[in-house]
Symmetry: C2
Amino acid sequence: MASNRPNRQWLIAERPLGRAVEESDFTFKESESRDPGPGEVLIKTLYLAFDPAQKGWMENIGGYAAPTEIGDVMRGTGLGQVVQSSSDKLAEGDIVLGQLGWEEYPTVAADTVQKVDNNDLMTAYMGPLGTTGLTAFFGLFDVGKPVPGDTVVVSGAAGATGSMVGQFAKIAGCKTVGIAGGPDKCAWLTSEGGYDAAIDYKTGDVREQLKAHCNQSIDVFYDNVGGKILNEALRHISLNARVVICGGISRYETGGMPAGPENYFNLIFKRASMTGFLLTDYVHKFDFARGRILEWIRDGKVTYKEDIQEGFENTPKTFMRLFTGQNFGKQMLKIADPA
Amino acid sequence: MASNRPNRQWLIAERPLGRAVEESDFTFKESESRDPGPGEVLIKTLYLAFDPAQKGWMENIGGYAAPTEIGDVMRGTGLGQVVQSSSDKLAEGDIVLGQLGWEEYPTVAADTVQKVDNNDLMTAYMGPLGTTGLTAFFGLFDVGKPVPGDTVVVSGAAGATGSMVGQFAKIAGCKTVGIAGGPDKCAWLTSEGGYDAAIDYKTGDVREQLKAHCNQSIDVFYDNVGGKILNEALRHISLNARVVICGGISRYETGGMPAGPENYFNLIFKRASMTGFLLTDYVHKFDFARGRILEWIRDGKVTYKEDIQEGFENTPKTFMRLFTGQNFGKQMLKIADPA
């Protein structure tokens, strides 16, 4: 196949430290694709997936991901199709998942991507079978350690991770309460999302609603949000509760880090714990977890919602949807159909 | 022996919610002692011991201790001598430890107090062999789970609990760093207190000193203080660190609860945990822990400092020393010598 295809890219232009991500934080660039060297493949990007952690990568905070530089192609997970291969591991036409970055024709080492089946579950590898589903799985089961009958409360419950946590907890025999913003999301939580109850933080007092649904009875709080919601949840933890710190999406709008939860002191009275985790520590168990989640999807026990925008030119705009609560389900961007 | 002894008491007059404890929060009352009923003993209080948690009892927060009422004799641990017994478990002259309250001649049920040996280690039952030593023991070993070679950092390190934690961690083969206020306390930490290094939060920048002594290498942080110091310590935790929430003495001066630690988000990057505990959960292991601590004291591996004020009239003033950093060692008040 011909190389030197016109390639479009989005580069990092600014570090959005302590403020919302903007379109001007990225530079649009037209270039050309690069021929694959030995062991490499040239890929046509079909879908990009978005996650709040990507803002952290732009900021180089935490020190847990390789640093980025201004001018780098923005890092991001995608699903693509091999168009030219110099590796005996992948052939033209293969569908792969990996760190493709925000460009139409990335050239990457074949062993940094994962081959997936070309079927209707393809995009699930960027959702329930990808980092979001795996994050929900290990955060809930390995850190939260739910026992059947436990009350599991999840913030950001209608998000890609949160919606998985609720369904997984339900399968594990727990009572599930989801916190989300707006009546549409909250209706979805209880109709399809596997939640027994929903709390709308936008239309009512979170403190009162938590008290009504789970007055000092939260056994597991799975937090994707931080800030005020984490603080109010800490007020209602039960004895020996486990607070799982997965994310702090609220910080992306308020600037800097999320406010510290002053009710952390309730950890003493309730002999409870608050624990952070990173998915990268569970790589050795990914296949195991994917197997379980796939089984649950095929059995109809887990459903998922995808929010698929279109057009490579809309990449930064689509990313920004994560921070304004516009997305409903796993945020993705479709760039092309598979050949 | 004669009853109806003149009895002096300090009663709770106000709840010092969200502000410093004041002498006017207590009412001085002259009354008479009460004859012991069946199973009871009349006790002469010899020593009272003080602990920051007593302010929480006055405030009725947390819900983990029986509520107090305005007008109650202030609750407090003491060491006393039985002067009249209607119980076959205790005889006149026995030395006992228990919830005697702030009065000179309490009458209590014999099975609510514990007989201790009348020797030079008597007051140790209100320090290293009492709640402070036991709190240090279980908070460090059961919650902090130190491994030899770990860096253990302790706030309020010159306090009754903190000074025990450092010495216990040293015995467990750890590197110990204590945070305290003022050059006298800091000198004591490294000369006698079992700490390898001391950080004076009053005379230098805590962030810089933590960076110098344990740059992102705190394996166990044992927190008695909360507020800014907890927040700065969270900045320097290591991978899989355990943050033990024992107390929040800073809240007693700033009013309300301690500020929330905004750096809690570092728990994610470092896959670390922050856990609270209460001593009451470890009652079944008290004898075991006391045996170990007594052995360490006798072997000269654990020393302790007592701050003994005198005179029953000074009870509230002595309690207030805890909240101003005046006390140096376990805060006690001597009321009488044993007969």
